[in-house]
Symmetry: C2
Amino acid sequence: MTAVFSISDLAREYGTTPRTLRFWESEGLIAPAREGQRRLYSQRDRTRVKLILRGQRLGFSLAEIAEIIGLYDVAAGETAQLELLLAKIEERRKELLAKRADIEASLSDLDGVAATCHARLDEIGQKGRSDA
Amino acid sequence: MTAVFSISDLAREYGTTPRTLRFWESEGLIAPAREGQRRLYSQRDRTRVKLILRGQRLGFSLAEIAEIIGLYDVAAGETAQLELLLAKIEERRKELLAKRADIEASLSDLDGVAATCHARLDEIGQKGRSDA
DNA sequence: GAAAAACTTGACGTTTACGTAAACGTAATC
DNA sequence: GATTACGTTTACGTAAACGTCAAGTTTTTC
């Protein structure tokens, strides 16, 4: 249990590079333990890396991702902090819902174009019934 | 009908800048008509601008957006073209579905954190019933 | 018809998110 | 114990997507 990973272990596992992991660290997104100079990545670090990658796939900047990840951590604050945290969460929720709406719209558009294609193919299929 | 718009009209309408619209044109994403030197934007151009903005919100690069927009145009090709187009559409569909899955996961995570916050607030609320 | 406003094309600057190379220390391997 | 493999920091390079002048034309407005 509580295994640790080298920087290239992590890089390989998540299809990224050591350079990238160091950069994320320099930007404060992760903070692996050290054994002398060497970085040691824990399960917690792996979780954060996964969150970073997901954030990137959703088009968030590293700065935004940093804030988002922060949300997960803070969850030990007190009242005022918690209220503020909930507000931030609500913001992010709205962003995500908006993106999801964009995606639905895109999917529906693509379906439309695909339908047009199929119709056209059927149309062509009716006559040209000689070639493979 | 068939109104036309100046570059700053469009920029204002979509919350962008003339510079950006010119840049997108230089990258082949839009191709407004010209009256002498001046650019004249049509309804079709507006539609494309909307697609570009949506693509950006979803985290696609301009190059990707160019290809996506291309999908909408090509819909007048012939069989081979159409098959290829359908394949590309399917690719995009998968990307979008993946992003949607990422979003669902993010939303669910945020819900989790929010729940923790509410629980903690309730907990605190039980005792500290003296301060505003 | 002169000034102001809006448009044009360069061209260089800027931010983000790394890539790449240099120069070095350490650890495993044959 | 020399080589190879992996790690470190520092530093400069780069692609994408514009921002920001500059210098000039055209168009509108008073």
